[in-house]
């Protein structure tokens, strides 16, 4: 009788695999499915408090009406899309360039890798405060540099045309190391014999990059892209600390808007609806990314 199937009749192994994962499934259900169901219920309800207790009323129409009449939502969606597209594009290009550069170093790779990941080790609150000081119109480092060059001071966080891009810059500084780490690992895993064969066949650097390295790096690129896009969509710390969504609505993102609705306005039902929609968008991005990865793998 084998250890894998002590009864030798196949029944033990068939049931074993189900009840062996049952504890993990139960924990997963308790920690994710139950809260998700509670959130769904909240999203179609209005919750009020009186006499020390909460009172629920089923009001899906009211919550959806709030969604379609929310005056600030359209601007935040546009801002968020712009933020995600521009910030992630820059991070991917810079991260990939750094990964290829550092990957091509003969010496000092470890040191460069350590130095380049420092920004993601800094807590987001520290980053927010640091850049808020650097962007300060009167005392900030950036305007002091401009002043030293004889240029006028810039209202980095006070201008409606610059506020969002100032936050993008902070996000790029913070998250390029993340992209770099993922792509650097992939660059290090590129098969040397393929590179050498291409070199022997006369491929120049541009052809090596475009025809050999990039296709081989594509799964890692897609993983980094999907991760960054999801995280960028949920960005909160930087915008909350730097501008609070202002001036006006020029830098308000979906996550900050959701925070305001849920925590500041205490509109729990509508806030839950916004949360559900955010989750739907993020899951869609995940599904799309997975399809691209699978497709790239098949190719």
């Amino acid at each position: 009788m084998s250890l894998r199937d002590p009864r030798g009749d196949g029944v033990f192994s068939a049931t074993f695999k189900y009840w062996s994962v049952a504890p993990a499934v139960l924990v997963l259900a308790a920690l994710t499915v139950l809260p998700a169901l509670a959130l769904l219920r909240m999203s179609v309800s209005t919750i009020t408090f009186s006499e020390g207790h909460e009172h629920w009323a089923l009001t899906p129409a009211r919550n959806f009406a709030a969604l379609f009449t929310d005056p600030g939502l359209a601007a935040t969606v546009v801002n968020t899309l712009l933020f995600v597209i521009v910030a992630v594009a820059i991070e991917m290009v810079v991260g990939l360039a750094l990964a290829l550069l550092v990957g091509g170093l003969a010496r000092g790779k470890g040191l460069m890798r350590t130095l380049l990941i420092v920004p993601i080790l800094v807590p987001p609150v520290a980053i927010g405060n640091m850049f808020k000081l650097m962007y300060n119109y009167d005392f900030g480092l950036f305007n002091q540099i401009l002043g030293a060059l004889g240029l006028p001071a810039v209202s980095w966080l006070g201008s409606t045309s610059l506020a969002l891009w100032s936050i993008v810059l902070v996000d790029v500084w913070h998250w390029v190391p993340f992209v770099f780490l993922i792509l650097f690992a992939a660059v290090e895993a590129l098969p040397i014999d393929v590179m050498e064969a291409a070199h022997v066949d006369g491929a120049n650097r541009w052809q090596m990059l475009r025809r050999i390295k990039l296709p081989l790096l594509m799964p890692a690129i897609v993983v980094a892209l999907v991760f960054r896009a999801i995280l960028a969509f949920k960005a909160f710390d930087e915008v909350y600390l730097l501008t609070g969504g202002g001036p006006g609505t020029s830098s308000e993102l979906v996550s900050l808007h959701l925070y305001r609705v849920f925590f500041e306005q205490n509109q729990l039902g509508y806030g839950a609806l916004l949360s559900v929609l955010t989750i739907v968008v993020v899951l869609s991005m995940l599904a799309a990314g997975r399809r691209v990865v699978v497709g790239a793998g098949a190719a």
């Binding site: 408090f49 009186s50 006499e51 207790h53 005056p71 009167d138 966080l157 006070g158 001036p247 609505t249």
Partner: protein
């Protein structure tokens, strides 16, 4: 001779003991008895060091134990909600910003003081700060008229006008009484970008809402008609309010930095403390920042007066206070302990000590004491003057939503995205919609010409 010397010393000792404020440090300010350990949920604010010192003094005098759970502003509300929504028990005392009190009162999450001790009486010298510590559940309004005592003000903030005494003196100017005086003074004393004549807080959100409302009340403006009596007709988009907003924008632009729409409280304090801003509209609680040589380059150079008013306007102020409340879900021991601390804190001696350590006392007799004649507390007169006409605003459950709307639309007017008329019209419509959805009796005034 020896007898006369002894007599003189005895009389001098008696006078010293009897002098106002010079009480014995060993005698407790109030006899509160042995109490259970008390945990208080408190905000990290400029006045917290003063309050913490007072708590230490309470512990030393009474032998009771108090633990302060200190949190940033928004964190206090989150923790308070988590505690009360889950039945309470963590905190005996909750410090609530004035905007949060209605949510907590209406939700039934804080205990009336007389439910804990029917004999509790608020000293008559304690300011009521627009009755923010009272709740009339039938009217759904904070009023002592038929309302129960739910809390008291532990720190009562109003805005005052800070000015550099040296700068105004050098220009031969008196402290401004009107906003026109402010505009005139800016032209004389400011040398931008090295120095700004005056700075206002106009960042989106609570910043501009609170600051502009001071200007609104000075022209007898309002957001809603008579919320205490159930009339939620929106009066925001009135010619008086437009005039207030226009002048607010004018002073901010002509006197301040070129980025008025992004200036927050920290920025204003920073500009004043570094000497860049020569005048500013700031809450009184920030005073200690400017008198601390570790934080300020202008120690001893500032003074305060009540906020200037528009020509033909009336003095006014909007109260922004922290309220000491007792959590309903706390244990019986913590509730009694919280009430005992309150009784101690509200005594003359405790409030006097609080003021000496940098807090703002809530008793009229302390505000009129010898401290008011001490140059270190020269802010007391302006504070007492402002409190005579200061009021509470947004005292209804929709207050946070109204604040969000005002905080955005006013900011958009400052940065030029919307004209002042359009900003007020749009905000009025949005506020009206909020009240209508909540079933309030509401309406809206005629639209301002855009």
């Amino acid at each position: 001779m020896r007898f006369i010397r002894k007599l003189a010393m005895t009389v001098a000792s008696l006078l010293l003991v009897a002098a106002p404020g010079a009480r014995s440090a060993d005698k407790p300010f109030a006899e509160v008895g042995k109490q259970a350990p008390l945990t208080m949920l408190v905000p990290a604010t400029p006045w917290l060091p003063a309050f913490s010192k007072l708590v230490e003094q309470y512990e030393a005098q009474t032998g009771n134990v108090v633990k302060l759970d200190v949190n940033p502003f928004a964190g206090v509300l989150d923790k308070a909600r988590n505690d009360v929504h889950s039945g309470g028990g963590t905190y005996g005392a909750l410090f609530l910003d004035t905007q949060w009190t209605i949510e907590m009162y209406e939700g039934g999450f804080v205990a009336p003081f007389t439910d804990i001790d029917p004999a509790f009486v608020m000293p008559k010298e304690v300011l009521t700060y627009g009755d923010s510590g009272y709740w009339n559940a039938q009217k759904r309004w904070r009023t002592s008229n038929g309302g129960k005592l739910m809390g008291f003000t532990v720190l009562g903030n109003v805005q005052v006008w800070y000015y550099r005494t040296d700068a105004l003196k050098a220009a031969g100017l008196a402290p401004p009484k009107t906003w026109d005086d402010v505009l005139a003074s800016c032209a004389k004393i400011a040398k931008p970008p090295a120095t700004y004549g005056a700075v206002l807080r106009a960042e989106r959100g609570n910043g501009i809402r609170y600051d502009w409302m001071q200007w609104m009340v000075e022209r007898n403006g309002s957001v809603v008609k008579d919320p205490e009596n159930g009339d939620f007709t929106v009066t925001l988009n009135s010619p008086a309010n437009k005039a207030s907003l226009d002048q607010f924008i004018e002073v901010g632009k002509k006197c301040g930095p070129p980025n008025p729409g992004s200036i927050g409280q920290g920025d204003v304090i920073q500009l004043v403390a570094t000497g860049k801003a020569l005048q500013a509209q700031i809450v009184l609680a920030a005073w200690s920042n400017f008198e601390d040589p570790k934080k300020s380059a202008v120690v001893g150079k500032l003074d305060v007066v009540p906020l200037p008013i528009p020509t033909g306007g009336v003095p006014g102020g909007v109260i922004g206070n922290w309220n000491y409340t007792i959590a309903k879900g706390a244990s019986s021991g913590q509730k009694k302990s919280a009430l005992a601390f309150a009784q101690w804190f509200l005594t003359y001696d405790a409030q006097y000590a609080y003021a000496k350590d940098g807090g703002i006392p809530n008793r009229t007799d302390v505000l009129a004491s010898d401290l008011a004649r001490d140059p270190a507390y020269r802010w007391m007169h302006a504070y007492a003057e402002t409190m005579k006409s200061a009021t509470q605003e947004l005292g209804y459950v929709e207050g946070p939503q109204v604040e969000q709307i005002l905080g955005l639309r006013l900011n958009q007017a400052v940065i030029g995205e919307l004209s002042s008329a359009k900003a007020l019209n749009v905000a009025a419509k949005e506020i009206h919609d909020v009240f209508a959805k909540n079933g309030r009796k509401t309406g809206i005034g005629p639209m301002l010409p855009e």
